[in-house]
């Protein structure tokens, strides 16, 4: 959520440090800061409010209170601690069908307002938090939501039927196939009509039973304010979070309001928001307060939580005193009552609906005291109770296969086609899960067989150890599978591949020491490892890890490699390594590989044949560029007396 430094200042006052310091404090005591930017002479902090704090901290007052707590500085203005003096009205009636779905519904009447543009300061604040200014009434509802976290809605009171000189609200479930006309979403949206299923909670105009709003999600077209609006009713309510969430998700209308409601802000909040918006509207739209109706059939009292000093310290690894823990709880605004030695009954301030168990307070104490005070302690070492058979034998198979020249791949679980379909895959090539590894292994062989020169490999040999799925009568089952693949030619399977494959299978046979039921298909072989594991002896200890050299990965060039062969007679008894070094030096940096592929001796002379592979990371190399380099290589060889064949 975007938060303005100057707006925070309204609440925190002179104790508020500069934006960088605010960001630092929030980062280490409360929330991550995604960015800090400057707009005009103000700073905007993008605060990543944690999901459990969406109820109280998706608002400027909430962030300000958090800073007040961290700084141990009381707010200079706290709209949630103001005295509420409500003038009741009997001109508004509220009928709530289900108090669990709508625990509270308040409506305030203001008469004689003038619709116009909001003052510039208010428009500017809305723009900075990402909200387009519309008119002073709508802006006021948005402003108070960003200020206090309570979503609000404003109705044109004169659009209601003038029945009995009362405004009648009915909060009920929708009827199946009932329709509602909703207001546009955002700047480019258009109004839309939604057909309801009957599970949604709606606000209806009571005398005509017409739906006028989708409760907690979106206002309706029915009583939309317009340029000529004179009299208004402002709604501030509390709805069941699960219900709001289900409705918003199912209809695909996730709004700033629904996001706040689904996180269960306090049921006490609506009247404080009414007070705030009432004052604001009088200031920017004129008019007169016409009283408030407060239907609150379902209130909940904050439950005190027992916090024990021993548990606080034993979970955090700290040695705080009772006085310190009490002081930290009080800084939160909680009331603390000592119930026994080193035990306190703590009651959260009403807006902190997230504080419900002792561990919640332990977290608060930890972060306010400072997580940096927690000292690292290594747990006492205990003997290993169990060797994981699957991991043990997987590593054993890996070692055997790597020795036999096979490289390990890990491929996608998702397939374009198959028998086991997912309910909700995003992409069409991720619709199914794999039932074998062989298909992926074949694709890997195809893709790599064109790179054998660059890789310096006579053939591509790969394997994968991974989970595959099967459909059975009892549901979806899965097992660990091993697949091997080999490819000697660039243009697909050839019978020669099977010989390489057998070497891999033999290596596994040796590593596991049992007969194995391989399943094969052109150039690949697959084994159900899970089925074999029970036959294998229980390992007593993990084998030592093979040597792990330090690797710094270099990105793959997107350009093709070019290969050239050179065969030469050396003058004396130069080793292949010496020849290779010369070739590398004369060919330069673009020559990324020199592979010896043939050696023979004739009449006392030795011939070496090397394949040189050229690759650029910035372009496709042309024939003539490579020819120029090869000329240099020939010259270099000739200078050493080597005869290029």
């Amino acid at each position: 959520m975007k938060v303005l430094h100057s707006w925070l200042q309204d609440y925190v006052g002179p104790a508020l440090p500069d934006a960088a310091a605010v960001a630092e404090l929030l980062t280490f005591h409360a929330f991550e800061i995604d960015s800090v930017t400057t707009v005009a002479d103000d700073a905007v902090l993008d605060v990543d409010v944690l999901p459990n704090r969406a109820a109280d901290a998706l608002s400027h007052r909430g962030i300000a209170r958090e800073l007040g707590t961290i700084l141990s500085a009381p707010l200079v203005y706290d709209p949630l601690r103001e005295q509420i003096a409500v003038t009741k009205t009997d001109r508004v009636t509220v009928d709530i069908a289900d108090a669990a779905a709508c625990p509270r519904f308040t409506a305030a009447v203001i008469t004689g307002v003038t619709v116009q543009e909001s003052p510039e300061w208010l428009q500017e604040r809305l723009r900075v938090v990402g909200q387009r200014p519309i008119n002073n009434l709508v802006d006021a509802t948005n402003y108070v939501m960003y200020a206090l976290g309570q979503p609000l809605h404003v109705y044109d009171a004169d659009k209601f039927p003038a029945a009995h000189h009362t405004w009648q609200f009915s909060i009920r479930y929708a009827r199946p196939d009932e329709t509602i006309e909703l207001l546009a979403e955002g700047e480019h949206g258009t109004d839309r009509t939604v057909t309801l299923t009957g599970t949604e909670l709606i606000i209806a105009e009571g005398s005509s039973d017409t739906p006028i709003g989708l409760a907690g999600v979106k206002g309706g077209r029915f009583a939309e304010v317009h340029a000529g609006t004179k009299n208004i009713i402002i709604e501030a309510a509390h709805f069941d979070p699960v219900l709001i969430r289900q409705t918003a998700r199912r209809l695909g209308i996730v709004t700033d309001a629904s996001k706040r409601f689904e996180n269960a802000p306090s049921r006490e909040l609506p009247l404080y928001a009414q007070r705030e918006i009432g004052q604001l509207i009088l200031e920017i739209a004129g008019g007169e307060q016409g009283g408030v109706v407060d239907a609150y059939p379902n209130s909940i009292a904050a439950t005190p939580v027992m916090v024990t000093l021993e548990k606080v310290n034993s979970r955090l690894g700290l040695s705080l005193t009772a006085t310190e823990v009490q002081a930290l709880c009080k800084r939160l605004g909680a009331t603390v009552e000592e119930s026994a030695a080193d035990q306190f009954l703590v009651t959260a301030p009403w807006e902190r609906t997230d504080l419900v168990i002792e561990e919640d307070y332990i977290e608060e104490v930890g972060r306010l005291h400072g997580l940096s005070n927690i000292q690292a302690v290594l747990p006492e070492v205990v003997p290993l109770r169990e060797i994981n058979k699957r991991q043990y034998y997987s590593d054993r198979m890996r070692t055997a296969l790597v020795q036999a020249g096979f490289s390990e791949v890990i491929t996608t679980t998702f397939q374009k086609k198959g028998d086991i379909q997912l309910q909700n895959a995003l992409a069409s090539d991720k619709r199914y899960v794999r039932q074998t590894l062989q298909k992926n292994i074949t694709a890997v062989l195809d893709a790599n067989s064109v790179h054998t020169d660059l890789l310096g490999l006579p053939a591509v040999r790969v394997f994968e150890i991974g989970t595959v799925f099967k459909r059975s009568e009892t549901g979806i089952t899965e097992h660990l599978s091993l697949a091997l693949g080999a490819r000697t030619k660039g243009n697909g399977y050839s019978p020669k591949d099977d010989a390489l494959l057998s070497e891999g299978c033999a290596a596994i046979q040796t590593a596991l020491g049992v007969e194995l039921p391989w399943e094969g298909a052109a150039g690949t072989a697959e084994l159900n490892v899970s089925a074999v594991l029970p036959e294998l002896p229980t390992p007593q200890a993990y084998e030592p890890l093979p040597e792990m050299p330090t690797v710094t990965y270099a990105p793959i060039s997107p350009y093709p490699a070019v290969a050239r062969d050179i065969a030469l007679f050396v003058t004396g008894n130069e080793t292949p390594e010496e020849v290779q070094a010369v070739l590398r030096a004369t060919a330069g940096e673009l020559c990324v590989r020199q592979t010896l592929f043939d050696t023979f001796s004739k009449e006392g002379r030795t011939s070496y044949a090397f394949r040189l592979v050229f690759l650029s990371h910035v372009k496709t190399l042309t024939d003539s560029e490579v020819n120029t380099i090869m000329e240099r290589v020939y010259t270099g060889a000739a200078e050493r007396g080597w005869e290029v064949r």
Binding site: P51, P241, L401, Q403, S407, V433, F463, T467
Partner: protein, 240 residues
């Protein structure tokens, strides 16, 4: 041409290394299914249906007609915690490395499938300091250099308190030396997660952490694109 040695995949190689480090502290390598029930993937981790915390992980679901109870491709390795706690009495120490899935668009830093390792330590008197100590030990071994760890406040439904973990390598030649890097989420196991597994949350406490192994590879080897791990491209794998 002689047959050169093959190469182990960096992810499985890191898992072997992680296991090597944690087994030296007595952490058992535990495992669970990739096709996981909603019950273990969410409910048992204090992530109830229709709760906003479900939004933290976009989920692949199996079709209702294929499975006897709602089943997902596990979105994290955390369900292994609950499964292991069901089958074992505390004290217990486990790591659970494995493949996890998120239903989201892919780019250089996001994949619909990636690897995580879960850690769990439950005993009498386990506290956040033990988490810090264990992670400093792990990172120092894994990155071959003394490493410092710091915590920032965070939220996960299955831990309370929850922390975000940053690490800083204090020595060595890596370009990471001297920089704070955000690496993982962790915290003290939520009492509900313990209680649901039949463990007395007053007697026992524990820490849990979950870290992306792919991301550890970014730091350890300088890998820049997560998709390279799953490309099957030997030009990538044979560098390891």
């Amino acid at each position: 041409m002689e047959t050169p040695l093959g190469h182990q995949h960096p992810l499985s190689r890191m898992i072997s290394e992680i296991n090597n480090i944690f087994s030296s502290l007595g952490f058992v390598f535990a495992e669970g299914p990739e096709a996981e029930t909603e019950y273990y993937n969410f409910d048992r981790l204090n992530v109830p249906a229709d709760h906003p915390s479900r939004d933290m992980q976009d989920t692949f679901w199996f079709r209702g007609k294929d499975v006897p109870e709602p089943t997902v491709l596990r979105t994290h390795t955390s369900p292994v915690q609950a499964r292991y706690m069901d089958a074992h009495e505390p004290p217990l120490r486990i790591i659970a490395p494995g493949k996890v899935f998120r239903n989201e668009a892919t780019d250089a830093t996001h994949e619909a499938q990636f690897y995580q390792v879960e850690g769990l330590y439950i005993d009498k008197g386990v506290h956040l300091g033990h988490l810090k100590g264990t992670l400093e030990y792990f990172f120092s071994k894994f990155f071959s250099g003394k490493t410092e760890v710091r915590f920032r406040p965070s939220y996960f439904p299955f831990t309370e308190p929850s922390v975000e973990v940053d690490m800083k390598l204090l020595e060595g030649n890596s370009k990471l030396v001297g920089k704070w890097i955000e690496v993982m989420g962790a915290g003290m196991v939520h009492p509900k997660v313990l209680t649901d597994a039949g463990i007395d949350a007053n007697t026992f406490s524990g820490f849990a952490f979950g870290v992306g192994i792919d991301r550890l590879g970014f730091m350890k080897y300088g890998v820049e694109d997560i998709r390279d791990y799953y490309s099957g491209d030997l030009r990538f794998i044979n560098q390891f």
